[in-house]
Amino acid sequence: METSKEKASKDKEYADFEEKVKRTIYIDHLSPQVTTPVIKAALAQCANVTNVEFIVNYTIPYDIPSAALVELDDEMQAKAAVELMTDFPFIIGGMPRPVHATHAKAEMFRDRPPCPGLRKDFRWIKQGDGEYEVMRKLKNLAKRHESENMALIKNLLDEEKELAKQQQEALNGNGKKYEMLEDVVSDGTIRKLAHHYGVRLDD
């Protein structure tokens, strides 16, 4: 069905695509407020961003953080960027939750060209066939796996919320502490106290 020319062009296309995949990194745990220019600016310190594609959530029925596929100039930059973000907590958007970066994989791209040489054989199996039972069980297994996956995701999201709550409380506590200090200093109470206790303030 395919002429050799078509096949050659498809191969080339896939090869180009693979090149692109190598240059692209996948950033996760992004705030929904993060936009393309923000990512570009963020990565400007270690890499030049050619393209940013946000991943739209079609399948996960929960409120998950954003993710994006970021295409850089070349593979070296991609490696450097991923290393940077794995070794150090890299924060986009100034808030404590760091982003997570990995190298992109071909299946992450929605608009990918067909992989040449992929097995696409199919079979029809009917009730009477020997394999039918097996396939049915396999199907059920797959469905069960799917729901297990979802359950795990939900569990993880809940954990994240817990952590966030914890951190927020700690932060509030600290904030109040500093506020109190500031108030005390600003309205002179501290000087009086120091005088009272005979403690030198300038230390």
């Binding site: 078509e6 996760d28 929904p32 407020q33 220019p37 923000v38 600016a41 050619t50 946000f54 739209v56 959530n57 079609y58 399948t59 996960i60 029925p61 929960y62 409120d63 998950i64 993710a67 907590p89 890299f90 924060i91 958007g93 100034g94 404590p96 939750r97 760091p98 994989k105 071909a106 299946e107 608009d111 060209p113 067909p114 696409k120 054989d121 199919f122 029809w124 009917k126 020997g130 394999e131 097996v134 396939m135 396999l138 199907k139 797959a142 796996h145 799917e146 297990e148 996956n149 795990l152 993880l156 954990e159 994240e160 919320k161 952590l163 966030a164 951190q167 932060l171 509030n172 506020e179």
Partner: protein, 540 residues
């Protein structure tokens, strides 16, 4: 097949002289691109691939060397680009001429990057500058009277003697008053008269791949000055999604043969990314029937122009076609070339593909009509074309499909895709057939109808903490706003470092959990596969 003819009209104007090291460079005084005449020192728009907003520049030099055509552009700055150095007030439509030396003064660009002309009037009181008439000033797209020195980063209203090696005099207002035609007078014949180069009449959009392709409702694209007017009027240059104003997208070409088919230019990539306003455009075009002849179409357009101008308020002049075309063509090729050769007989009927509709919209619409099927348990390496081909071979039905995945959370064993069939019956029969026993590469597929309910992502983000109860002064509030866009690697001496580490720890734990689960699944499946083959052998 004669694919889309991307030849945008081009011709050289007056010769200027030869130069270059090997005397192989030919300089010119003017050129005509897409039926618009550009001369030296004209002000033009340039689009950079990837940026939704155009840059404004003045043509300093035009030449051709080794068959590549180039222009040297002296840049203008928008107020927001030099906001840091701006002091005092900014006049409406004011831009700033670059001066001095260094990066940002001027650039050499391929000639094809020029996307249109604009009128920039100098209102400086400098004696070398011919004072513009009030009408000229009002009609101009932009005005300038200040220069920005790119080296010292300073603003000044004193014009220097030379900029970019040229006498400043030639960069100021030209001797004759520009004949600025009102953008609404685009009813004027479409042929931008070559002589009347200064009159920025409606140059057919760069995208006019073949003129027949112009949609009657290409309100935004057609009149370039119109588009500019919109731009000038709306100082809030809303950076829109990249695809938004791609002219080529807006062409419901029903009758014209697919050769230059608009399909090629469907920017599916962007569709997913940001498509909200895009869908608004799409809605508008759909009902409009297409007429082959562009000229009459244009006249029609201009009537609609004002109305759609309001509707499209905030739209930017179309992106540089050539560059985005390449991107979109590349995207479409996998999906389209697969289906086209096999579907020749049914092509005429497949009009749904000719309408530029974003994938999101397609999904929603299909869901409403009952033609949407959600297929699971595919191999995750399948691409859109693979899936479509598979469906065609297995079911003899045609559909459009896209694999969907969310790399962070998705099960690598279970690939999913949405497929949109042509009719509800098709979808129903597909579902029943697939569910009853289609096995692909050893994996039994299963599917269901309709769109998964996915909640819209809330604007807040778990883990973004805020300090409450702090009296924040005006300045600090601004800084906080800016803080959203600051990014850095956290240093170990701040509180946020500890917090950040907590998160990293949590994430590492999560990854491990996923790994374990997915491995478990994989093993489970393998177990089955072996059982399956055993029974098959036993059965035979």
């Amino acid at each position: 097949m004669d694919g889309s003819n991307e030849q945008i009209q081009f011709s050289w104007g007056k010769l200027r002289g030869k130069g270059g090291v090997k005397m192989d460079t030919q300089f010119y005084e003017s050129f005509t691109l897409d039926n618009v005449k550009y001369s030296l020192y004209d002000c033009v728009y340039l689009f950079k691939h990837g940026d939704p907003e155009p840059y404004i520049g003045k043509i300093l030099k035009i030449w051709e060397q080794n068959r590549s055509k180039k222009v040297k552009i002296l840049w203008f700055f928008l107020p927001k680009e030099i906001q840091k150095y701006l002091r005092g007030s900014v006049v409406e439509n004011e831009i700033f001429l670059a001066s001095g030396d260094g990066i940002g003064l001027a650039d050499i660009n391929p000639l094809e990057a020029v996307a249109g002309k604009c009128t920039v009037i100098c209102i400086s009181k400098d004696e070398r500058n011919r004072q513009p008439s009030p009408q000229e000033q009002a009609m101009a797209d932009y005005i300038f009277y200040r220069v920005f020195d790119v080296k010292n980063c300073t603003l000044s209203d004193q014009l220097p003697d030379k900029i970019a090696g040229l006498e400043v005099k030639v960069l100021l207002n030209p001797k004759d008053e520009l004949v600025i035609s009102s953008p609404n007078a685009v009813n004027v014949p479409l042929n931008p008269n070559a002589d009347d180069g200064l009159a920025a009449t409606a140059p057919p959009p760069h995208s006019a791949v073949k003129e027949e392709n112009e949609s009657p409702d290409a309100a935004v694209p057609l009149s370039h000055p119109a588009a500019k007017e919109v731009a000038a009027k709306l100082p809030a240059r809303v950076p829109l999604s990249q695809s938004v104003v791609s002219k080529e997208e807006q062409k419901p070409v029903a009758v014209i043969p697919i050769s230059e088919s608009v399909i090629k230019k469907e920017d599916k990539k962007s569709a997913a990314a940001i498509s909200l306003s895009q869908s608004a455009i799409k809605e508008e075009e759909k009902p409009v029937a297409s007429t082959p002849h562009p000229r009459s179409a244009v006249v029609e357009n201009n009537a609609k122009y004002t109305q759609s101008q309001n509707a499209h308020g905030g739209e930017r002049p179309p992106k540089k076609l050539k560059l985005s075309q390449e991107a979109t063509v590349k995207n479409m090729i996998p999906a389209v070339t697969e289906t086209r050769p096999l579907e020749l007989p049914s092509r005429q009927a497949d009009r749904s593909k000719w309408f530029k509709i974003s994938w999101d919209d397609k999904l929603r619409r299909a869901d409403e009509q009952g033609t949407l099927v959600y297929i699971q348990n595919l191999d995750i390496h399948f691409a859109a074309a693979d899936i479509e081909e598979l469906i065609r071979e297995a079911l003899q039905l045609s559909c459009t499909a896209k694999p969907i995945n969310h790399p962070t959370y998705d099960d690598p064993n279970n690939g999913k895709a949405y497929a949109i069939f042509r009719t509800k019956n098709d979808a129903d029969s597909a579902i029943s057939k697939i569910n009853s026993g289609l096995v692909v590469g050893g994996r039994p597929l299963y599917c269901s109808k309709g769109l998964l309910k996915v909640p819209k992502s809330s604007g807040t983000f778990v883990g973004h903490l805020s300090l409450h109860n702090i009296k924040i002064g005006q300045k600090q509030r601004e800084e906080q706003k800016k803080a959203v866009s600051t990014s850095h690697c956290s240093q170990p001496n701040t509180i946020e470092y500890d917090l950040a580490l907590d998160w990293m720890l949590l994430r590492a734990k999560q990854e491990k959990k996923f790994e374990i689960l997915h491995k478990h699944h994989k093993d489970g499946r393998k177990g089955f596969a072996s059982i399956g083959s055993k029974t098959a052998k036993a059965g035979n």
